[in-house]
């Protein structure tokens, strides 16, 4: 089951990474988003570094939306999902494979973007590094677990690119609230990041279990 999921995750990643413009486009997108939000908050009058926490999480959530929009693209364009469903693979393995692929995708993007973000917006602040990195890692798990379910719902509709963020963003609000709380605490040099980080872990676990349980109903045809 885990092995199946890994194979499927690799398949998803290969399909995306083969098209270099997808990865490069993603990076370009995040950097542009950071710049847009920076100026939208009033440029250097925007109250950084606290406003930087907002920029970071707007960018991460939007990247997750983009990545999720791609996650079933190959499956629907070439009906690859039907072929996978014919194989003796656990349905939950399909979900896990997609989640791992999305996670890898988000991490690749973040490895480039977070240091850049740090240099641009947080270099002068005495922010604690580890809580922010932990928040990003935990939030990625939550975004991917719930996002893949939503992407599976949206891909069956006629308006999937529009519907995905409509379905996904309300679900992401609690996660963003906690992630920003953790980031702000870290930026302020406050030690009380444990509760929001604990919440992010809970969010990821909860939706992972729920998704695991219901995914069967989404790909059974």
């Amino acid at each position: 089951m885990i092995a199946d999921a890994l194979v499927l995750a690799r398949l998803n990643l290969l399909l995306e990474l083969r098209r270099r413009e997808v990865v490069l486009g993603m990076l370009q997108f995040v950097v542009s988003t950071l710049v847009i939000v920076h100026f939208a908050l009033g440029g250097d009058r925007g109250g950084e570094p606290r406003a930087a926490a907002g920029m970071l999480w707007v960018a991460i959530v939007l990247v997750a939306v983009l990545a999720l929009n791609r996650t079933f693209a190959a499956d629907t364009e070439e009906s690859a999902l039907d072929a996978i469903l014919l194989a003796p693979v656990d349905r939950a393995a399909i979900w896990l494979g997609k989640v791992l692929a999305i996670l890898a995708f988000l991490l690749v993007t973040e490895v480039f973007v977070v240091p850049l973000f740090w240099l641009l917006f947080l270099a002068d602040a005495e922010a604690a590094v580890w809580p922010i990195l932990a928040a990003i890692a935990l939030a990625d798990i939550g975004l991917a677990s719930v996002g893949v379910v939503v992407a599976a719902l949206a891909q069956a509709t006629r308006t999937r690119e529009v519907l995905l963020p409509v379905l996904f963003l309300p679900l992401a609000i609690p996660l963003v609230i906690a992630a920003v709380t953790a980031t702000l605490a870290a930026v302020d040099g406050d030690a009380s990041t444990l509760r929001p980080l604990g919440f992010l872990a809970l969010y990821g676990t909860f939706f992972a279990v729920l998704a695991w349980g219901v995914f069967d109903h989404l790909v059974s045809e």
């Binding site: 069956a156 509709t157 379905l167 679900l171 609230i177 809970l202 729920l210 219901v214 989404l218």
Partner: protein
């Protein structure tokens, strides 16, 4: 057909209880010592809000039952629950800011927990309609809609927790673990208002269900008339 609960009972209850609660709110219950006359909107606002949650809970139970049994009737119930819940939710978002403007001086208070949790849930359930109506009718639409409703079961406690972690308490705590924190006449009025709203919601749900079932039946009969019953 006769085994189905009739719409008459909740409708009758709503016809009696809703006007009764209006009468109690405006003529019987005394002014609040702190907020004065304007506090009376509390009986509408909170009763409608709790009814909204009740509708969403009903929809979630029906969605779970649909996924377990695959009977389209449960999907229809779940849909109608969300629909009526959204109507009541809109009322909450209208009455809430009116009360907030009068008692806090602002239309919306971003540092209030319950407003934020309600807003998140309302956005979530509004998206339900977008999903449902962009899918072809049939088993897949029923299953997908039900799965989406079940995601809301996770969203409720998580939103409450997230908002609690981020914010400070402002909402007046009327109900505590030691019981209610209001005088008897207030509590009776509130209970009547709540019962009235719940009855109204139940009546709306059963009437809408009847309408939907009748429409389905008419369509089936039309199909048969046209000789397409494969």
């Amino acid at each position: 057909m006769s085994t189905r609960p009739s719409a008459a009972l909740p409708t009758l209850a709503a016809i009696v209880l809703v006007p009764l609660s209006v009468a109690l709110i405006f003529w019987w219950v005394p002014d609040d010592a702190d907020q004065g006359f304007s506090q009376r909107i509390f009986y509408f606002h909170v009763a409608v809000a709790l009814t909204t949650y009740a509708c969403f809970a009903y929809a979630a139970v029906c969605a779970a039952l649909y996924l377990a049994r695959r009977d389209p009737a449960w999907d229809l119930r779940s849909y109608v629950g969300i629909h009526v819940g959204t109507i009541f939710g809109t009322l909450v978002l209208v009455t809430g800011p009116i009360w907030a403007k009068i008692s806090w001086g602002v239309w919306w208070n971003w540092s209030d927990r319950q407003l934020n949790v309600f807003l998140i849930l309302f956005l979530f359930y509004c998206a339900y309609f977008m999903l449902r109506f962009s899918l072809e009718e049939g088993e897949r639409r029923a299953a997908f809609s039900s799965v989406y409703v079940l995601l809301g079961v996770g969203l409720v406690p998580l939103s409450i927790l997230a908002v609690r972690i981020a914010q400070t308490l402002i909402h007046p705590t009327v109900f505590t673990s030691e019981g209610t924190n209001m005088p008897g006449s207030f509590f009776i009025t509130f209970l009547v208002a709540l019962a009235g709203m719940l009855a109204l919601a139940a009546a709306m749900i059963s009437v809408e269900l009847r309408g939907k079932r009748a429409a389905l039946r008419v369509r089936e009969l039309r199909r048969r008339l046209a000789g397409q019953d494969a």
